[in-house]
Structures are given as C-alpha cells and as structure tokens.
C-alpha cells in the first residue's frame, strides 16, 4: 500500500487503536476455541443485556442518520445521504430484530430465533450495501431544489424495507428457508450471508482506512475502528450454536463496541 502525504499526520495512537481493534477480537475468539470457555447464558439475563445493546445501537444509528440528513440538506452530498440511509435502516430494522428476539412478548409478531435472524439479516445486508456504496461511489451533489424530495424518498425506502421485513417474519416465516435449527445451530445459508456481510464491511473498512490515510480525520478513524469491530461481531454471529451462548453474547458486545466507536466519531466531528 502506498503512503500518502497525510500519512505523516497519523499518530502512533491511531496505529495502536487499529492494531488493538484487530488483535483483541482475534485473541478473544481463539480463547473461545477452548471448550472451557463455552457457556450458555440464562435467557432472562441475556434478554436484558440484548435489549440494552439494541436500544443503544438504535439510538446511535438514529443520531447518525439525523446528523447525516441535516448535512445532506445543507450540501447535497450523495456520500452522506447513503451513510444516513444506511444508519436509518440499521435503526429501524434493529428495532424489529429486538422485538422479534426469542423471549420477547408477542406484540406485533410471534418472536423466535428465525424471526430475529431474518430481521438481523435485513438490517445487516441493507446496512452493509449502503455503507459500501457511501464509501466507494464518487461524490456527487444533489441540486438544492430536489434535496427534500430525495430525503423523503430515502426515508420512504427504509420504511418500505422495514414493513417488508415485518411482513416477512410475521406471515412468511414458515415458507422462508430456516436460518437456525434448534439443537443443530446455524444453517449454511445464514453463515454464507454473514460471510457476505463481513466481506462487504471489510471493503468499506478498507475504503475508510484509505480515506483516513489521506485526511488523518479522527471521525474517519473511529468509523474505521467501528466497521472493523462490526466485522468481528459478524464472526460471533457465524459461530453460535445457541442464541444465548457465548458467541452470540460476544457478537453483541462487539456490536456495542462498534456503535460506541461510531458515537465517538460523531461527537468528535469538529
């Protein structure tokens, strides 16, 4: 990889953060390879933890979407529109995921492992694709006259996706291929889709890293860290055998860490 002029401004702490972001999760997952570390949480305790993680990530995603959309109204950047739409989709679909988790009350649909996984995949696939497009498509400015219409269109698209997701897990869950089989674990389809999400996030992360090497911008650094942690979160969700086990817990911890990084990136934007 070529070194860019701005690379001189990248301080040692940034390199240390990036190395830790990669090394710590690798060490954690290697440790879990020892059978002694495999534990299954009490469902009630897990449910409280899960609700906390999802509420936090939904709030952070909504905040990032709001700031992005305000920014889009100001300068019409396609990059920031796609970023905001990605996070709005995360916020909406992760809310459905939380409500669909096994053990949650039957409010709008019957909660269950496959229902929660489908909502999760809707969130991850749409989020990963939109983040990738935001990071890699060339910058283009929307004319001021149509910005509000485009924003409404983006919100409508997320609303449509959320309604489709809710309908699918309510009405079509018995028709859709299973993602998780009790006693056996995850299906190959689910693992394959998580692989694709992780790969897409990896390309986005590399694009952010390249951006950071050009600009030494701290917001981009924290988003690079956030996306990297998200990839390690996905690894946890490829490995679990029980929805309350240590891999699922760790996946959610890394997701929480990823959104803390995104939140720091938003706060440090100056």
């Amino acid at each position: 990889m070529a070194f860019y002029p701005a690379a001189r401004r990248i301080d040692r702490r940034a390199i240390a953060y990036l190395v830790c972001t990669v090394l710590v999760p690798i060490i954690v997952y290697f440790a879990y390879a020892q059978a002694a570390f495999y534990i299954v949480s009490d469902p009630n305790v897990f449910l409280v933890f899960h609700a906390f993680v999802e509420i936090f990530t939904v709030v952070v995603a909504a905040a990032i979407a709001y700031v992005s959309f305000m920014g889009y109204r100001g300068d019409g950047s396609r990059t920031i529109l796609l970023l905001g739409t990605a996070f709005l989709a995360q916020a909406a679909l992760d809310t459905i995921h939380s409500l669909a988790y096994p053990g949650m009350p039957n409010l709008f649909f019957q909660p269950g492992s496959n229902q929660a996984i489908y909502a999760w995949l809707f969130a991850r696939i749409s989020g990963a694709i939109l983040l990738l497009l935001s990071a890699t498509l060339p910058e283009r400015e929307t004319p001021p006259k149509i910005r509000t219409k485009i924003l409404l269109l983006a919100v409508a698209a997320v609303a449509f996706l959320s309604i489709t997701c809710a309908y699918a897990i309510k009405e079509l869950i018995d028709v859709l291929p299973p993602m998780f089989i009790q006693g056996k674990g995850l299906t190959m389809l689910k693992i394959g889709l998580e692989d694709l999400v992780a790969l897409t996030l990896a390309i986005t992360g590399l694009s952010y890293l390249r951006n950071y090497m050009h600009t030494a911008n701290k917001t981009i650094l924290t988003f690079t860290i956030g996306v990297t942690l998200f990839i390690f979160s996905e690894i946890g969700f490829m490995l679990y055998k029980n929805v309350y086990d240590i891999y699922n817990i760790t996946g959610h911890i890394f997701k929480l860490a990823a959104f803390i990084a995104f939140l720091i990136g938003l706060i440090r934007a100056r």
Binding site: Y72, D75, S77, T79, I80, H214, I267, A269
Partner: protein
C-alpha cells in the same frame, strides 16, 4: 413604504428595503465595505429609482471617491452633472450646524430635492464633539433628517476586527437609529470572508441570518448564509457538527 437599496439580496433581508424616512446605521471595521454599500445605495437610488442622493464625507476627497466609484462602474461626475447625486466633503462641525437654519447642507438638500443621504462616517464626530454632548447632537441630527423625510445611512467604524466583544458604537447611537446593518470580517478555513447581518429594524421583521458577501466589480453581492457554522460573529467560527461530519466523509474522496 419601503426604499429599495438596489441590492436585491439586502432588500430581501430587510423584507422589502429600508423604511422611508428611517435612519440606518451601517457598522463595521475598516475594510468591510461600509462606504461601498453606502455609495451603492445612493447610485442605485439615482439611476434606478429616480431618487436623488447626497453623500457627505469627512475622510475622503471627492477625487478619491470618483476614482473608487469608477472601479465599480459608477460615474459619480455624470450623476452630479445631472443633479442626481452630490458629493460633499466637509468637516464634522459643519454637519452639526446642519440642524440650524440656513446652513449650506440644508440648502443643497432643498436644491436637488434629495430623498437619500449618506453620512460617512459618523465616527468622525467623536473627534470634534465632547463626549458629554455627542449623544445630544446625534439625537438632534437624527430628528432633523427625519423631519426632512430623508432616508439616511450613517456609517460607523467598529474598533474590533475580530473577537467576541462587539460594541456597535460607544455613544448609544444604536438606540437612536431605526435600523442597524452589521458588516464583519470572519476567518473561515484560513481565509478572510465578509459577513453581513441585519441587527434590527424598528417596526418591521427582518432576516436574522448571517450572510456572506463580496465586493465585486459591480458592487456588493450578498451570498448564502453561514448556515453550517457556529459563532460567526466572534470572527472565528467553528464548523457545526453536521458540517464537520459531512466533510469528513466527503474529503477523502476528493483526493
């Protein structure tokens, strides 16, 4: 009844223009464009709205004003020859006598049927009138102009170029005038830009935004508001979180 300045964006900020017969204070530090704005108001009045104007200056000689105005394409000599505009270079004591009967400035106003007047700059009065009397003299001057139904612009120099300590004038003139337009130099991304805002208009609503403006070969051009910045009036604005966040993601793509 509104009086158009002839600068469409400024008229829009004033919700139609200055109020007829009002006194407006244009305040700013050196080099912000106070004289240009005031001259443009008079030239537009004479050429576009058939309103004759009088320009009273204490600082510059007429030749200098003709030359500076010519750089904007304004032919002051021609307007003077047509009786539409008059430049008077005088001293502050003469202006103070202006309120007395049978003074030369009053005679010029009557002779040319002036509707607009600019006094550039009111700050010069501070050097000639004792501080204890200054406010009273200004009060008499403002009332005299209003009785004559002149739509007036006073320019005033503010001492501070940057900083968050803003004093419009030191003699309480801001209470006497009807409208205040503030011109300011601000630093944005290591370059100096000019900002304009309307601080007040008595009896009317107005645009409260701070707008960027430039002095172009055609005079003052007002651009968009500094919507993405906070603390512009301090002279050293910070980007808002929204702007900084957006810029972070866009910037890397431009390289």
């Amino acid at each position: 009844m509104r009086v158009s300045t002839g600068i469409s964006a400024l008229d829009a900020m004033l919700h139609g223009g200055l109020m007829r017969g009002d006194v407006t204070l244009v305040v700013g530090s050196a080099g912000t464009g106070k004289t240009t704005l005031a001259l443009q108001y008079l030239v537009n009045g004479a050429t576009k709205f058939n309103e004759n104007g009088l320009y009273i200056t204490f600082e510059q000689m007429p030749a200098q004003i003709y030359r500076d105005a010519a750089s904007f394409g304004w032919d002051i000599r021609k307007l003077e020859a047509e009786g539409k505009l008059r430049v008077v270079c005088t001293s502050p004591p003469v202006l103070v006598q202006f309120v007395e009967e049978r003074n030369p400035i009053d005679a010029i106003i009557s002779e040319m049927s002036a509707k607009r007047i600019v006094i550039d700059s009111i700050s010069n009065l501070e050097s000639f009138i004792p501080a204890s009397e200054l406010r009273g003299e200004l009060y008499r001057l403002v009332n005299h102009l209003k009785m004559k139904e002149l739509t007036s612009i006073f320019t005033a120099e503010s001492q501070e170029v940057f900083g968050d300590h803003l004093v419009v004038t030191g003699v309480g003139l801001s209470f006497l005038v009807d409208c205040i337009i503030l011109l300011r130099i601000v630093e944005i991304q290591s370059s100096l830009k000019k900002a304009l805002t309307v601080l007040k208009i008595r009896g009317s609503d107005h645009d409260k935004q701070l707008r960027e403006f430039e002095i172009t070969p055609q005079g003052i051009k007002i651009a968009a508001a500094f919507a993405q910045y906070e603390g512009v009036l301090t002279g050293a604005p910070r980007r808002s979180t929204t702007e900084a966040f957006t810029e972070a993601f866009k910037k890397g793509k431009k390289i």
